[in-house]
């Protein structure tokens, strides 16, 4: 997270140096504008994002599903889900979030909402059918931990910065094409600063062209760390890390894309809903680009908590 802020400040500082003059102190107008635009879009998603996400996933609230006349076995499953969510919110000392079911055969689950008072937890039909009560408890505890750790807020701030970085990068590459870099206030100063300034400029240009990619990678890094944290604090709630481990195993075995869940919510799902093969492999490429850590590593970490690894 700190690395993220530093990266963003470096880009923004360079942008303002290049375009708005070269005094010792530069008013960071470009940085502020980019951050403002990025924040505006992120804030919109912060306040209405949960409804949009639930709507796009086709989620149905458990109460609605129950009153719509489910079969007996179904009613049992749905009541069980509702009970498990209530149990976990008691364990966490949080208000009970709204509970939704997503009609999707792939086992997955996600949490959304801006704070514990406005949180929702959604579980796919596939998950309900695949896991036992204890395993469901582990999954719900994981999702509730995202709520409790305020990951939704964190990822919104990060989305704002990724957006701002992309904007800065976009503006610069347009500027480069029209040959405006180095015009502004920098002209005439390069002589007395000499080589160091040129080197810094080159580094900055390379950085800003790669920025959208790097920003995305940093965002995914934060997301992966929060997944481990949610696994661990979920286990703290249930005191039963092995149930979550075996739920993760089942989810991994049935690993297919979860088409109901769109890209923007990936970091709040229990397993990567895009079903990318990289999510399952280890190595440097998946480590940089996946929103979730490798399943095997998560399962091992949980088993170690249960003294079973």
């Amino acid at each position: 997270m700190a690395g993220f802020v530093a990266f963003f400040l470096f880009l923004g500082y360079g942008f303002d140096r290049v375009y708005f003059g070269g005094g010792e102190f530069v008013f960071p107008i470009g940085t502020l504008t980019a951050f403002g635009v990025g924040s505006a879009s992120a804030l919109t998603s912060y306040y209405s994002g949960d409804r949009a996400v639930l709507l796009s996933a086709g989620a149905v609230s458990v109460d609605r599903a129950l009153s719509a006349g489910a079969s007996d076995g179904d009613t049992l499953k749905l009541r069980q889900l509702d009970n498990v969510v209530e149990e976990m919110s008691i364990a966490a000392g949080l208000p009970k979030p709204k509970v939704y079911v997503v009609p999707d055969p792939d086992p997955n689950a996600f949490a959304t909402g801006r704070d514990p008072e406005h949180a929702s937890i959604a579980v796919t039909r596939g998950l309900l059918d695949a896991v036992t009560r204890d395993e469901l408890q582990g999954v719900v505890a994981h999702e509730l931990s995202h709520v409790r750790n305020l990951d939704i807020r964190l990822m919104t701030v990060i989305a704002a910065m990724v957006g701002a970085i992309a904007l800065l990068s976009d503006w610069t590459s347009r500027g480069l094409r029209h040959g405006s870099v180095g015009s502004g206030g920098r002209r005439g100063r390069s002589k007395d600063k000499g080589g160091a300034a040129v080197v810094l400029l080159v580094i900055w240009i390379v950085a800003i062209l790669l920025a959208p990619l790097i920003g995305q990678m940093l965002a995914m890094m934060v997301s992966r760390r929060r997944e481990y944290l949610a696994d661990a604090s979920g286990a703290e709630l249930t005191r039963n890390p092995l149930a979550l481990a075996s739920a993760l195993e089942k989810i991994e075995q049935a690993h297919a894309p979860t088409p109901s869940v769109k890209r923007g919510t990936a970091h709040l799902c229990i397993a990567d809903p895009l079903g990318k093969a990289v999510g399952l492999r280890q190595g440097w490429a998946p480590d940089l680009l996946a929103s979730h850590p490798p399943m095997a590593n998560r399962i091992t970490a949980l088993r170690q908590m249960g003294f079973q690894a």
């Binding site: 009613t75 009541r79 008691i90 005191r239 003294f307």
Partner: protein, 186 residues
């Protein structure tokens, strides 16, 4: 020199205010946690007559077990004080456990959707009681640590804070269960 002394005094005062507010907030959370346990126990008392009525017909031959559950419930409802309640709720849990064990012998009962649903509700209530206690112990421990660590302990007792009592298993029989199971299940 006097300014430095005044600054230090001001810092101490601010720190004491922050500490006091933190302890008050924790104490209220502890009280709330304790009431949560009561809410869940009450829910369990309300559910048990339903369960017994549903299984009564199919379990003609287990009249004793059923009566024991109802009697344990009646005793738990009329318990006075936390330690008395803890003991009687423990007995009720055991009676329920026996009922579930015995009901394994009645396949028709186990296939009955009503019974399954009731069993789910009861399992959930047992869990809720357990998690409410767990949360109470977690928050009470936090409260106690906040009071007993240095230098807070000097002020906490002056301000009249007392450590909260943790919930403990009173029944020897209940205590044996986790001793057998090393898989970190609760």
């Amino acid at each position: 020199m006097t300014w430095i002394a005044l600054g230090i005094v001001a810092l101490v005062v601010f720190w004491a205010i922050a500490l006091y507010n933190r302890l008050i907030s924790l104490r209220n959370q502890v009280l709330n946690g304790w009431r949560q346990i009561d809410v869940q126990l009450k829910r369990r008392h309300d559910l048990i007559p339903n369960l017994v009525n549903t299984v009564r017909g199919a379990m003609e031959f287990e009249r004793d077990t059923l009566t024991q559950v109802m009697e344990a419930r009646a005793r738990a409802v009329s318990a006075i004080g936390p330690s008395d309640a803890a003991r009687k709720e423990g007995e009720l849990s055991q009676a329920l456990g026996r009922l579930f064990a015995v009901s394994e012998n009645y396949p028709t009962l186990r296939a009955n959707d009503n019974v399954k649903m009731l069993q789910e509700e009861l399992t959930s209530t047992e869990n809720k009681v357990g998690f409410a206690r767990q949360f109470y112990n977690d928050i009470a421990t936090k409260f106690n640590i906040a009071q007993q660590t240095f230098p807070s302990n000097v002020f906490a007792s002056m301000l009249g804070f007392k450590p909260a009592e943790l919930f403990e298993i009173t029944e020897a029989a209940e205590r044996q269960v986790p001793a057998v199971d090393l898989s970190m299940r609760k």
